[in-house]
Symmetry: C2
DNA sequence: GCTTCCAGTGGGAGCGCTCCCAAGATCAGG
DNA sequence: CCTGATCTTGGGAGCGCTCCCACTGGAAGC
């Protein structure tokens, strides 16, 4: 039970000092104090110092909410991750994006709000965020085809940066990874190693990344004069990769190469292959995508397409900051790079 | 280049409607409109409906900043993750905590602010957050011994909930996992399987979890009349686990069991063991902690101590909400449970 | 019939800050 | 010594909302 309010304050209820009190103590007007604080011009050296002294003595900290109301800037940027259930966020991919975004926002002195738009409730809150301008800008990730978030972003009179390009919409500002190129390179590598019956475990084809990676795989095989197999769809998780591999093995027992659209599914494929007694890479070569920890830990370590995930987050945040500052940045596509380990 | 300001608005510069405009349109006073909006009592049915109609017609959305200023509540809770470099956050553990916290905060209609207090800059911002009451409450995680954040939390006149108990301080409100019990159970299991020379790859001993898990290991061995080995310290990452395992193998070539303080290190140990030609579990049995994806994917799949990570996040958030509402919740310790796979 | 009560209402004073603007101070040039 | 330009200064009007309070009128109680 609460014995009182917050929380049995020992001393006086001690309200935070306000700018007025600072001004009074420094013997200046509130305007001058404000200018001194934001080190704006038109403040004499003497008064500036007086204000600084008063701030120190009073332990004054500006109230961000009041500032936000007056400036009409919240001082926060939101990162919203779409997805029909929150577990999508468990993918370590997002953690790395966050690290990058967080660092960049820190430089611009913006806070990071994280919104998982998984439930209906979550989506509703994101809509409210957009409509009420509850943040200075928004970064949008993991949108699926016909994702309602796309429409909200469209209508919102607010800076919005996309992470990846969702299928079915062409955002004006985005940063993406060269998914097609990466997948193509991975597949070409498989072909170069003499594989001729190469299958794909692709991610959800209603995501931009899923589709682009499948296209890269397909392009590479066609260019090499080989027949692409129909895509075996997973959902980017390890179990789905294992299941897809099992299906593939059943339908195409003679395959000798697999391109998995991410490392989780690649690891799942490895597990199934191991259980099926197929040697990797001797019988079947496997390449993944992402280069997360799981690729290094897998047995055998997974050859994979490295993508600069932290940079993705950082560049999204930087682009957003540019936008917030009223400029018009150009979209960005980050390069990928094949990392060869022992699975192919 | 910015052609104008935000962003070449097609129509009129269209300011957001305010509550006053809603009130005027509905033919009521601002007070009544406000009450209707927050469905407070003392509003006649007719006026309430008039307000709702006006809201709909105008597309009114309340301004959260203004509300925050008036109510002195920000409507946001912060999750602060300490650590000397941001990569600590790449651990999928945190992603799951976030999922849990996010869901619980959503229920209370609070936003989630994420602060990685890795750099000095980051820590400074957290301090400012505390001092300026930039959030209604804070959840603190991954604190190390003598972590400056502990002091800030102490002084802050703000609800603070700890995730785990940092060594060297006894927070009043926390939710933790039964680390000692889990580690004890894991070690007992090893002993029950006939292992007599059991080593520990422990996490950083300046963290609460690292220390508690080592203690559980030690207790179990002592209780069984066996000698604990001196702790081989890692930093919760896969490579550190691999290195620790190598060191262990060099110093105690005859060991037959390993308790790793988390799955990442367990996976690293597995890798080293495999490279050294030791069969798992035949020669050396390995148990991990966490039950993350990596435990399932590892080869062989890792026997590990499951901890309810999402629940941890959720309970932290709930406890924080309770605190914000002026009540005094009791600390919580969540149970763990051994999950046996094939590594032990 | 007269208090008493209370649902319903609107006025107005904040919340703590920014920023425009008018007015005073300072200083140079003529 | 005066004019005008430049630097300083503080007053005051917001930003958009909540909430206290004083006021009304009709229902209830005696």
């Amino acid at each position: 039970m609460g014995e009182g309010s917050w929380f049995m304050a020992e001393g006086a209820p001690r309200r935070q000092p306000t700018l007025d009190e600072v001004a009074e103590r420094a013997g200046v007007s509130r305007s001058v104090a404000s200018r001194a604080l934001n080190n704006a011009p038109h403040v004499s050296r003497a008064k500036r110092e007086a204000v600084e002294r008063a701030v120190r003595q009073l332990g004054y900290v500006p109230n961000p909410t009041a500032r936000a109301l007056a400036t009409r800037q919240t001082g926060a940027a939101a990162l919203v991750v779409s997805g029909e259930d929150p577990s999508i966020f468990a993918d370590p991919f997002f953690a790395q994006v966050i690290v990058g975004a967080s660092t960049a926002l820190e430089e611009a002195d913006l806070h990071l709000m994280l919104c998982l738009a998984a439930s209906d409730r979550g989506r509703k809150r994101v809509e409210e965020l957009f409509r009420s301008k509850g943040a200075d800008g928004v970064m949008l990730m993991a949108l699926r085809e016909d994702d309602p978030l796309a429409g909200m972003a469209e209508e919102a009179e607010m800076p919005v940066v996309f992470g990846g390009r969702p299928v079915g919409s062409a955002p004006r500002w985005y940063v993406d990874v060269d998914n097609v190129g990466g997948a193509r390179e991975a597949t070409e590598y498989l072909v170069a190693r003499g594989r001729t019956r190469v299958a794909a475990i692709c991610g959800r084809l209603d995501t931009g990344a899923g589709r682009a990676r499948y296209r890269g795989y397909r392009d590479a095989l066609l260019a090499a004069g080989l027949d692409p197999l129909p895509p075996q769809e997973g959902d980017f998780t390890e179990p789905s990769g294992a299941a897809a591999m099992a299906a593939l093995l059943a339908n195409h027992p003679d395959l000798d190469g697999v391109f998995a659209a991410n490392d989780n599914m690649g690891a799942g494929a490895l597990r199934t292959l191991r259980a099926a007694g197929r040697a990797v890479p001797a019988d079947v070569a496997v390449v993944g995508f992402d280069d997360l920890t799981v690729a290094q830990v897998a047995d055998p370590p997974l050859t994979t397409v490295h993508q600069p995930i932290t940079a993705l987050g950082r560049e999204m945040a930087r682009m957003l900051v540019t936008l917030i500052n009223g400029h018009d940045p150009t979209p960005l596509i980050l390069p990928t790079r094949l990392v060869t380990r022992s699975s192919a």
